[in-house]
Symmetry: C2
Subunit: 153 residues, 2 copies
Amino acid sequence: MEQKKTEDLLKEKLKEKGLKVTHQRLQVLSVLEQNSGVHMTAEDVYELVSQECPEIGLATVYRTLQLLWEIQLVDRINLDDGCVRYEIGHLIKGDAKHNHHHLICRACGRVIPFADDLLDDLEHHIEEATGFHVLDHELKFYGLCRECRGKKA
Amino acid sequence: MEQKKTEDLLKEKLKEKGLKVTHQRLQVLSVLEQNSGVHMTAEDVYELVSQECPEIGLATVYRTLQLLWEIQLVDRINLDDGCVRYEIGHLIKGDAKHNHHHLICRACGRVIPFADDLLDDLEHHIEEATGFHVLDHELKFYGLCRECRGKKA
DNA sequence: CTCCTTGCAAATTGTTTGCATACCT
DNA sequence: AGGTATGCAAACAATTTGCAAGGAG
């Protein structure tokens, strides 16, 4: 049910832009949707899509992720580990607006998700104050996780 | 006055770790300090430092920026334009804690700084809830700037 | 039939690394 | 003196691009 819905949303947006519905594009979206909540690199997506669609090229995955991001179907996150990551869009997931941020430990590199909706107020404030229309945000906290705080050098 | 102070802070931290005070390290810090508020790439820093210190290598700049970041003298920002940027640390700048976030326009790519201190509360909350000790954060908003909202396709 | 897309491979580009030499302490 | 830091060039890795062939509308 919900899966069909996202697929249709993609088809709709593609048509709107005069772009074409291809097997590859559907597959990439599908993989992302099946891994909701996972931060996937292009390579990750490539490997999974390859199972269903062995002839796909890595470049196509990159192009498709870029496209899906532009039309707001997927979110993009940068965890500073040298590669960009993608995740099915928070707008898609239905439910609440589902804001989650990331706590990145500087010692062990662990990434801890943290749910919070505080930013909604701030977004409204920004729109009023600057005229900037906010579509999405990315919030990261750097520090030391509980475990690493213990083992002080 | 203030310049001396940051320099001394660096010397202190270096000594603490058994590292050495070099001309290059002082120069890199100095350039960053003279460009407070500017988001500089390694290349940017390299070019400026080269004026005072023509024999310096780009690799040294990278290594030094990494070091300065590790000892908390500079902040690191990623504006998703393909390169990491550095800025003199917000802890250094004296004054208030000076939190500024970034509004990134998806249409024209412009980066608009936005001052706000809302996150302090959230940081405290995180520490209490998770035991994660927050040292720094990075908050970006993606959307459309006032100008680009006008020119709708 | 006409463009949009794809796959492949080559090209880019920011950043890192190995190593012999030069420099702090 | 002894270990750290530097400069240079080569190595890397993620991402992009050119182009001819394939596929959607």
